[in-house]
Amino acid sequence: MGIKQKKVNSRRRKGQPSAGRRERWVLRLYIAGKSSRAVTALRNLRVICEDQLNGRYRIEVIDLLKNPRLARDNQILAVPTLVRKLPLPVRNIIGDLSDTERVLVGLDIRERSAGRG
């Protein structure tokens, strides 16, 4: 319901009101084995989610070494890749998520302009 409205609206407005409406976030993290980078990425993601999403989120971790087919099905190249499945639209962030500001902007949790300022 609320999703449909968002499609027309600009991205800038999406983050704040959605968070306010206690919307559920579904974040999927693609990794390839338990590498140190994968571990770092997952840790960074958890910290950010706890700080910003306050329990309204779910994290799915997909190990491509165990499910290689999903790399093709979901067009994954880079690892780690974080995909915001919900709320729509889908957003992707690649890297170990060590740059928190960019994660917040990338996920539209914080407005870009605000994030930079």
Partner: protein, 567 residues
């Protein structure tokens, strides 16, 4: 292993045949097996097609399944694009011979935070290779990643890792890349793929397009270094490595008739060498095509196949015209021995003509090829290109023991010998046709300018087109120069009369002389008789004188005695 490779013969380097026409010849057997090859070139130069044909041929002809990773086109687009070349990708994919996979990264939807690697890509390629047990892989065009993913430094490092990884997997890989400004590829991929680099090029000169291929490098192997023209048509990719063939073809001792008995006589009695290149040049209407068709007719009579490239006349017109000199070409066409190929030289570029010609020869397998005329290709200042093309063509014919018969039209103003000088070195037997204008008539004369490897005639022959073919006649060579036609006839009549007169004169003179000799001898006899008479008379007188002198002396002695002289 590696050390041995360096020191041993180049053939030790394992190669994966592409079976793409011509490519294996210039690479000495194919692409480096188990290693990546970079194919670069501008947009639309045929990179994708080359890569795809490499896979399809591998899958269908060598039972080596292949993975095609496309970074640009969708599976559907790819299938449609190569269907025009006769490749049924859908079927190959179904039979697990080919694996098509499109890699799509939506730009703008991806942001970066921290380090990443391309393990996802590795996993996908690995899965694809494992799924069909692929031996060949194509990455088309992996450089697109630079537009789609952030951080070029990471990308570069990851691509380097990828190429190394593919090498370790032992798959023969083609990586395609766009040509960059001043470098082979935009992202400098040639630094990472160092085993083999192939450059494709697509140029348009004089409104005709020319595709060329060059092996920029091939580590551990010799390779042709030239730019080779290539074609993309309904049979796929074909490279023409004709210049790489060199001069090591076996030459034939076999002789074949020119179809004109007296011309055979002029060529030391046996005609042309099989596999040689014959050029007949002359001005318009001197009968070049007729000499060619006479040869064609003779070849067909021997049961040989002839491929006739006509660049000025349509086959129908040619057949009609040749019927007027008593040569029925149609029967050979019907028997499948003679095939015509008529195109306007300006229709497409030289390379396309060359490739078409070679392809037709490869499929029809003729013993004789006629090119009528070769200089139809010369437009403006492209003589060098034409010569290069002919050189390739001639080499190709010689390799295949095909006798090539070329005609060349020379303009009236220019000197025949210099007009065709640009092809002279390619020609084994060069016939020259000349117009001789005397007494309001134009007649044709033929002579052999050169003919390698035989003692050919140095005589000029009059050349006549009759309703039963070509005839060669002796020409009149006399004090007034070379005469042909009626001039020759009238000169011959005049000569006959002259000769008769001269003979009579001689007879008369001989008679005269004889008479003079007789009269002289008569005179000599007379003189001798007179002399003899004189002589005997004189001798008598001398005798008498002596007698008289004696008497006088005696008389004197007597006188002295009687005078009692004391002296």
């Amino acid at each position: 292993m590696k050390k041995r490779g360096l020191h041993s013969h180049r053939n030790v380097l394992a190669k994966t045949p592409t079976n793409i026409q011509g490519l294996d010849e210039i690479t000495g057997g194919g692409l480096p097996a188990g290693r990546p090859t970079l194919v670069c070139g501008g947009a639309g130069c045929g990179k994708t097609l080359l890569a795809m044909e490499f896979l399809v041929r591998g899958a269908t002809e060598y039972n080596e399944p292949g993975v095609f990773i496309s970074f640009e086109e969708t599976e559907k687009e790819l299938t449609a694009n190569v269907a025009s070349l006769g490749f049924d990708l859908t079927d190959l994919v179904k039979r697990k011979k080919i694996w098509l996979e499109q890699i799509r990264v939506e730009r703008g939807e991806t942001s970066q935070s921290g380090d990443y690697n391309l393990e996802g890509l590795f996993i996908r390629i690995h899965l694809a290779i494992e799924s069909i047990h692929a031996k060949r892989v194509v990455l088309d065009t992996i450089e697109s990643l630079f537009f789609e993913l952030p951080d070029p430094h990471i990308l570069r490092a990851e691509l380097r890792r990828l190429f190394g990884w593919l090498k370790r997997k032992g798959v023969t890989t083609i990586i395609t890349a766009e040509r960059g400004d001043g470098s082979l590829t935009r992202q400098g991929l040639e630094e990472y793929v160092s085993d083999c680099v192939i450059l494709l090029d697509h140029r348009v000169t004089d409104q005709s397009s020319i595709r060329r291929l060059r092996i920029v490098k091939y580590r551990g192997s010799t390779h042709g270094t030239n730019e080779y023209p290539f074609l993309i048509d309904e049979d796929g990719f074909s490279v023409l490595p004709v210049t790489s063939l060199g001069l090591n073809y076996r030459s034939s001792q076999e002789r074949i008739s020119s179809g004109i008995p007296r011309l055979d006589t002029m060529l030391s009695g046996k005609g042309y060498f099989r596999g040689s290149t014959v050029l007949v040049s002359g001005t318009a209407g001197t009968g070049k095509t007729s000499i060619a068709t006479q040869f064609v007719d003779a070849a067909c009579r021997r049961g040989e196949r002839v491929l006739f490239f006509t660049f000025e006349e349509s086959p129908g017109q040619l057949i009609r015209n040749m019927r007027s000199i008593g040569i029925d070409l149609e029967q050979w066409v019907k028997k499948g021995l003679l095939r015509f190929h008529a195109t306007r030289p300006t229709l497409y570029g030289l390379e396309t003509h060359l490739t078409t010609c070679i392809k037709m020869v490869n499929s029809f397998k003729p013993a004789v090829v006629v090119l009528d005329p070769i200089n139809a290709f010369v437009v403006g200042e492209n003589q060098v290109e034409v010569k290069t093309m002919l050189l390739r063509l001639v080499d190709f014919f010689k390799m295949n023991r095909i006798t090539a018969f070329c005609t060349s039209l020379t303009s009236i103003e220019s000197n025949i010998e210099t007009t065709d000088i640009y092809v002279s070195s390619l020609i084994d037997t060069w016939l020259l046709l000349r117009d001789i204008e005397i007494g309001g008539e134009r007649n044709r004369a033929l002579y052999v300018l050169k003919s390698r490897g035989m003692a050919h005639s140095n005589q000029i022959r009059e050349f006549r087109l009759t309703d039963h073919g070509i005839e060669l006649l002796d020409v009149y060579v006399g004090t007034e120069g070379v005469l042909t036609g009626s001039a020759r006839l009238s000169q011959e009549t005049k000569d006959d009369a002259d000769r008769l007169l001269r003979q009579q004169e001689i007879l008369r003179k001989q008679f005269d002389l004889e008479r003079k000799r007789e009269s002289m001898e008569a005179k000599i006899t007379l003189l001798r008789t007179e002399f003899q008479a004189m002589e005997s008379e004189a001798l008598n007188e001398i005798g008498e004188d002596r007698g008289r002198t004696k008497v006088v002396i005696q008389d004197r002695v007597k006188m002295a005695r009687s005078r009692k002289a004391d002296a």
